[in-house]
């Protein structure tokens, strides 16, 4: 190779090398910038979610999640993971949700009362799915309703439970049990049927455990309040007995108990001109 040819080849290699480095720099810069923007978006998504959740806890009952970003949402027991872990939104409320794309989400809250309020349950509804129930009017109007032949999630009441249908989630409810794709859970309240429809079996189990823990804590609080109250001692004894029946049933995972006894004892307090418990 002559001297000129060598120079030309050297220049070419040098230009390609420098070009690759510059290109690499810009590529790195672009990816980092995208990551940073996504992280910012994730914080904004989390903040918007938080605003809605706080609103639902006090006044509003349902709200569409109106945000301009498309995001990936993964659901864990205590948190929602936004954009593959770029931000983890801890949810303090007991909530029901399933993983998916945050494109068409609705937030809905309902009080769980047995007989006093245990918590305000939060439902995060993926309205890109179609929901169907054998009970007319079971789903509220803002939920995307399907039909018996076209649904993604089906809720079946009255002991009729279809065998699994490919790709569809089946929730069956009989008098004291809920089945999510064949997995059995206790039936405590209608609000938990919504929970079963809007969440996965794992998420449902986790939230159910949290409900039971909170319920036991509340019974301890009411037992203590009952002991500290200094009126109507005879009726308060009945209240104590009723609270302990519920507490012991919950501890032993027996959900087939009646809260009417406690409700009646609470009314009796009032009939005796005493302060009610709850």
């Amino acid at each position: 190779m002559n001297k000129r040819g060598f120079e030309l080849q050297f220049n070419l290699i040098f230009v390609i090398f420098v070009g690759l480095i510059i290109f690499g720099f810009f590529l790195f810069f672009t990816f980092k910038y995208i990551d940073l923007q996504k992280e910012k978006e994730s914080v904004e998504i989390a903040r918007s979610m938080d605003n809605i959740i706080r609103g639902l806890k006090s006044t509003t009952q349902y709200k569409e999640f109106d945000i301009n970003f498309n995001f990936d949402m993964d659901v864990h027991c205590n948190e929602i993971i936004i954009n593959n872990g770029l931000y983890r939104q801890k949810i303090d409320s007991i909530f029901f949700a399933s993983a998916g794309k945050g494109k068409d989400l609705w937030f809905w809250s309902q009080n769980l009362k047995k007989p006093f309020r245990i918590d305000t349950l939060l439902f995060i509804i993926d309205n890109s799915k179609k929901y169907y129930s054998t009970r007319n009017g079971f789903f509220p109007e803002f939920v995307n309703e399907g039909s018996s032949s076209n649904f993604d999630v089906g809720v079946f009441f009255g002991g009729i439970c279809p065998s699994s249908i490919n790709g569809k989630k089946i929730v069956c409810v009989d008098s004291n049990k809920i089945f999510i794709d064949g997995e059995e859970f206790p039936f405590i309240d209608d609000s938990l049927v919504y929970g079963a429809a809007f969440s996965s079996a794992e998420q449902f189990e986790c939230s159910l455990d949290k409900i039971v823990d909170k319920w036991i804590n509340l019974i301890d609080i009411y037992l203590s309040k009952n002991d500290r109250s200094n009126d109507c001692s005879s009726v308060r004894e009945n209240v104590k007995v009723e609270l302990n029946i519920i507490k012991n049933s919950l501890i032993s995972d027996n959900f087939a108990f009646d809260v009417e006894g406690l409700r009646n004892s609470n009314t009796q307090l009032s009939n005796h001109d005493c302060e009610v418990l709850y």
Partner: protein
């Protein structure tokens, strides 16, 4: 390669080197600004969540006053608050201390951090004492260790 060519390549390399240095400084500055603005946003969000606790706490079923299960009065039940303070270690509010100050002080939750600065938010709340059937005013204080 002749001397002129060598000087030419050295000049080019110097220019490229300076260009890279400027590029790197520019990128570092850009990321520093972006990261600090992101951190500020996260910090602002945490602050906002902290202040929201002032709204959240009186609405908890563990504390809120109710009659026949109806919670139409925005008030904390004094006896429930005392009972809650005994079991609040089962709850996780992070490094915080939550106190109700009325005629006496009820520490609802106490989990201070060993170090760090303290932020404080407080708000007047309604407090109901069912033993005397009286509504009163109290001060709800939330302290947060950051």
């Amino acid at each position: 390669m002749n001397r002129k060519g060598q000087i030419g390549i050295q000049e080019t390399m110097l220019v490229v080197f300076v260009f890279f240095i400027i590029l790197i400084i520019g990128m570092i500055l850009f990321f520093r600004v972006s990261i600090s603005s992101s951190e500020a946003e996260i910090e602002e969000y945490n602050e906002f969540k902290f202040k929201q606790l002032i709204d959240v706490i009186p609405n908890m079923p563990e504390l809120k006053y109710s009659r026949y299960g109806i919670e139409d009065v925005w008030c904390i039940d004094l006896l429930k608050a005392r009972a809650f303070s005994e079991i609040s270690d089962k709850y996780d509010f992070g490094f915080k201390r939550i106190t109700i100050n009325s005629s006496d002080t009820i520490i609802l939750y106490d989990n201070p951090a060993q170090q760090g600065s303290i932020r404080r938010a407080n708000s007047p709340v309604c407090l109901y004492d069912s033993r005397v059937g009286r509504f009163g005013l109290a001060n709800l204080i939330v302290e947060w260790w950051t």
